[in-house]
Symmetry: D2
């Protein structure tokens, strides 16, 4: 593919817009961006839900990563438009920032969190591979310059030397988070994700290595961080959504087990084999979207293997496990597993202990490396102040990690235990945990 | 299944709510409704998009019929709550109205409009079959009474003797339309679907055979009808969405043709065969949701048959045909087909003429039977007036049918025509149509 | 005041923004605009309600013309930003358009419609006088150039030779209407004023003598015209609001009458005298805002004159007259007046017949001069089409004038009529009209 | 006035609604509520702005206390509707709660905060006097029962024995705050006031002495408290709004001073005299609304006294003082006053030090009496937990008082100081404070 010197700057004859319910309109003028959107790798993001199994808890959260990716692009486009009047901003980085924003989620697979855990994939690594591999996206980016794909990939992977551009897409107050908080709030119908993005954009200033916030914008950032906190606990960590992931996890674990045992599948898990074997090419990865995963789960309902059939059926028809809070203080996980075994219920497929945590804001301090760069306020005189030192509200949540653990199990199977002593022992125990 | 006398009236211990971005909350108190929502046939509606291929034009329109069905139920729930204070309303019909509202779209298949045209299915007939067949939904309804499934089905099919209940779910101002106008506007991000539903609900009165509108509510109904008009022309008939249907239509037509010819599919169209043969059981029908259809289309990209592979690829990766207005005045459809043949392009798979029309409001008059019942305003003295006789705006759109025709073809194939004379003839012709 | 050559182009060091609930933010960068906003004549618009007595019908409609004027300015600012890329737009007219937009309502007095009718004032004439007179606004404008005040005034008065700039502020689809429809809908809480302004702005193109609309924007303009239609009939012509104007009208008429008769006011109507005498200077005019009018009305409750006291009390404490539809078919206005006189109720102060009409869209045709310039769609080839010739919906409302008449009277005074025959005659008559 | 046994329960023939932009509709069915709304004392609240001088900072915040009072009533109406299904709620208190909600702000005077400080009035005391005095409101309430006015007044004054009803209207999570946060956010156009009121209402439970919150509603309450925190610091304490109060304060102080000195006013401050003398009857109090205050300020611009004229002019035409942060560390207030005197600027009228503080949430603990009752979460087993003990976010703001002080002065007068040494000394000082 020949590099065209003019391609980088090529503009569409007329601006194209996408009607968007969150940002009203998404504006595209660059030929490169337009061409990237049309690639099949980017179109594939229509087949990956932004919020995985969350639709099981919030029925209206059915939007895709395609949707979100356009939104992140649009926010960066507005950031850049504001930054152009500051000398700290190098106009030459405009297309890099826009492209990285658009493509930042390119490597997400179906039900990402779940798949990453069970098959040890890493969406950031795959984003890189897709951008650098034999793909339409790579062809478009290479027309800009031979180095451009690597540049875009390294911004997304946070290894690019331009820390300012990285901070626009991944930092504690970046376009990614600003889009998903608003978008996910919009689709779920909750009010928690509301903050004044237009104001946040107005108080952002480019500096050498990061976006900084004009001091007068502190309250707007507080509001944004509180939104984030609320969205995590009210939406993203919803135990019903986790319950969907648990079923998916267990069903895939069973399918892998059966595959390894040489079980004769009615619907052979062709596309899953590279995942089972943890030897996945870009092509394998791109093929397995949520349409495909759902197709297999629906098929596996009809398998002879009762465990696979049952777990698949539960996932497809939303017959979720029950959940209870669990902190290990009353009884250990192993002790429960023993009891399940005694009751004739296989804890490998009918018991799951899930734990999740969040830290709404933090920054690296001596002895506490978590790779989080602080949000800085900039004073009128140019001095920077880490934001939690200026805001009591933010200070109160800085570095505070909240952990919640839940235990999942099928209530119906408990009720069917034949040994009445074991049954009542288990029921009493679960009541105690509730 | 034994009928339980109390099941009809059984209430949940505590009201359940679904957070909904359009109606804020959807409230469920009836055990029957709760049980219906949990059936696998109702859960299946999560895998059918409310707007089919419209996401190709409006990226954010990815919501399901599950979503919409809950909304229609909620609107009827509010209608009933208002109606309870009128003697014209028989409280005994409450559960019938709620159930029919919830289930009214139960028989929708994947990409309904497209499938109905190509395979001659009828979602209303399948709704009836699902409700009366060997399904979980039927089991729940039968617990209310042996006749209840038939009652619900006949409300949805508009044959029930209670015309008032029918009009709540299907009439020119019903819960179905009120939900989808608002919901589709919400998801696409347009403002056209906005009308004051709370006011419309306040001015609705139950009467013997229909919902009537308090005279003072005329302007609110005007606003609703204008919303409907705008949504049809701006959203539902969007030619890009039609372009997606065109591709799906042609790909399935090719698959059927290949199947009939005995072509050896790499991915055998197992679930499509009953459709190809037009001999479909309820179980066949329920299995073929949009996950499955998408899976096959993605698979067929890899078929040997170039036509099936190409059309599938275009659908999956959104490489749409170009469209032009077409009214047959410059040239006939057949003449274009001839030209395509001369150019070596098969018009059976690479040419499509699509026509669509809408009538925002109408009612049956002598000599004009279109089976539309009028919207009636009710005066203070009880007299009814057909609404277009009272509103100049509505009169102006009453019975006005607007038809638009578009012609679809692949621009890239035109550009690759080898015979330069035919090529330029065809290009000139298409330019003339533009 | 010396003209400064650079003042016209002077920019604020940093953009100022006003948080606005309708347009999110209003952006000011021009020093001239900033200075105009700070003048006392512009600040005075805070003391004039945008919708006069409408708050009596919609309690939340309490916003001022200051509020609306900023909104019109902001819309023109966005129009200009879009127009800058077309050669038909002369950048030199930017400040003229912005200033005229900001100041277009400068001459509105308290409860404008009412005052104009009773005292024969004309807000457009006063806008001109304020701009050209010895005012702070004039001083600011004169710094731009000696001719600038006259230029701004002539745009607002529609006599400027630049018809394009005029059409931005006063035409059938101008910034004034686009702001007030949305703003008044926002404040009253109704959904009728909703249309997609961002889209309308995107399809507007500057042409020699007017703004034209890109053909593909036709539906957006339909939606806007329907909004206008609905707002007029649902909001602006609300009979309760008219009822407030009726009382104000009658109270002022009484005060004028008493003044002319030499009545000894407790609170002498100092500021009203120029109005009573219809000999009003700019200074007189500017002084009489709604604070002052309300103050007098509240004072006049305590006057000896029973009529003035009663009417003032009714206005201040919202004891409105009753209203009935009235078309003169059953009885003439004069016959009712006679009956009121027989009943001992003075029809000059306790009877009012009010008539109002609207035409949502029209344009001048031979034999029908109403000074309305059409909205033109522009085709891809540059040809203009009057919009009603392209849209059935718009055609249906073009030139259709709707008139409604209402009769206002105090129900309590009817109930207190002593002559029982007259009383029952009058009550029967009014019941017949109802 | 005779008590009618049935008046308490009398319902309107048809429900009346007020269209409201915040709550969509406000519903009235009780005759008593309808009659209260029509009283002149309640209508007077249309002439008192909800946010006093805040319109000087947020131009769109022009709404009245009438507006807000209807909103508080509506929220309590919804609370009561929810409470009716709990036995802890005594239906007999319904009308008491509704009436107290509607009337809770009845005693607010013009620019309340300002007037209360300068004239030592107390709006709560005046609410009581208006309800118990010779007023239309008292007449309506007395028709319910002779004790009813006293009951309503004591709920508003928080002395009623029914602590649950009091907590609905005044507590740390009451209908008053829930309305004003949302309403003020709506009118100013900011997003900070957003929280999910429908959810908060759903998790409220009546208990003996207070409203308690179902445990699962904790996050919704967190969100509400954060809204409150943000609204205080971003909106209510805006220094520009304070700057308007400063001018009003100083102008009234001057008027009082002149009155006491026997100054010959052109516009004699008739209605202010009871305030100057701090001997105010209910009738005096009701007369002085914001229309009247504004009228006087506008008049006083034309007074001979230069100080009164100047301060009045600044207030009316928004020529605000400049403000600086001030904490007394660099220089004391007295030292600045000395400097002003040296400069020939009277610090009594041209210097003002303003301090304000807020505590978003607190509750009484031993040794810390601030008369705040905690918000309690109720566990499934009925135990109560003070909310900050359960929420880290709330704990972080509990009892944290934030104080900000600002110093106000007229920049223009500083620039006109004749003694150049004093001038530069003062300018340097002010620069240091900035």
């Amino acid at each position: 593919m020949e590099v065209e010197s003019s391609y980088r700057d090529k503009q569409l004859v007329e601006e194209k817009v996408f009607k968007d319910p969150v940002h009203r309109y998404i504006h595209v003028r660059d030929q490169v961006i337009w061409d990237l959107i049309k690639t099949k790798e980017f179109q594939r993001l229509r087949r990956i839900k932004q919020l995985g199994t969350l639709y099981l808890a919030f029925h209206s959260a059915e939007h895709s990563r395609f949707n979100h990716s356009l939104g992140v692009y649009e926010i960066v486009r507005r950031m850049v438009a504001n930054f152009e009047e500051y000398e700290e901003w190098d106009h030459g980085n405009r297309l890099l920032a826009l492209s990285a924003a658009l493509l930042h989620d390119l490597g997400h697979g179906p039900f990402s969190h779940c798949f990453e855990k069970i098959f040890h994939t890493d969406h950031e690594a795959f984003t890189r591979e897709i951008i650098l591999g034999d793909t339409d996206v790579n062809k478009v980016l290479s027309r800009v310059s031979p180095e451009f794909p690597e540049e875009v990939a390294s911004v997304i992977n946070k290894t690019h030397e331009n820390k300012l551009v990285i901070s626009m897409i991944s930092s504690q107050i970046d376009a990614d988070r600003m889009d998903y908080l608003q978008r996910d709030a919009f689709y779920t119908g909750v009010s928690y994700g509301t903050f004044d993005m237009e104001r946040v954009l107005r108080v952002m200033r480019p500096s050498k290595d990061e976006i900084v916030i004009k001091e007068s914008g502190m309250h707007a950032v507080e509001d944004y961080l509180m939104s984030r906190y609320q969205m995590y606990w009210q939406i993203y960590f919803h135990p019903v959504s986790r319950g969907g992931e648990v079923l998916l996890n267990l069903a895939l674990k069973r399918a892998k087990y059966l595959f390894e045992k040489g079980y004769a599948f009615k619907q052979f898990p062709k596309y899953f084999i590279p995942f089972f074997q943890e030897n996945i090419t870009v092509a394998d990865y791109l093929r397995l979207d949520e349409m495909v995963v759902n197709f297999y789960l629906q098929e596996w309902i009809h398998e002879e293997d009762e465990v696979l059939s049952d777990l698949s059926n539960r996932f497809v028809n939303r017959e979720l496990f029950k959940y209870l809070p669990f902190d290990g203080s009353v009884i250990t996980e192993n002790e429960i597993r023993e009891l399940f075994i005694k009751a004739g219920i296989d804890p490998d497929y009918y018991f799951f202990s899930d734990s999740f945590s969040d830290m709404p804001y933090d920054y690296d301090r001596p002895g506490m490396m978590n790779n989080r760069r602080p949000i800085h306020l900039v004073k009128a005189d140019g001095r920077l102040k880490e934001i939690s030192s200026q805001s009591a509200i933010i200070q109160s949540i800085t570095g505070v990690k909240r952990i919640e653990s839940k235990l999942y199990y099928p209530k119906d199977k408990i009720l069917e235990i034949e040994d009445l002593n074991v049954k009542s022992e288990l029921i009493n125990l679960l009541n105690e945990l509730a």
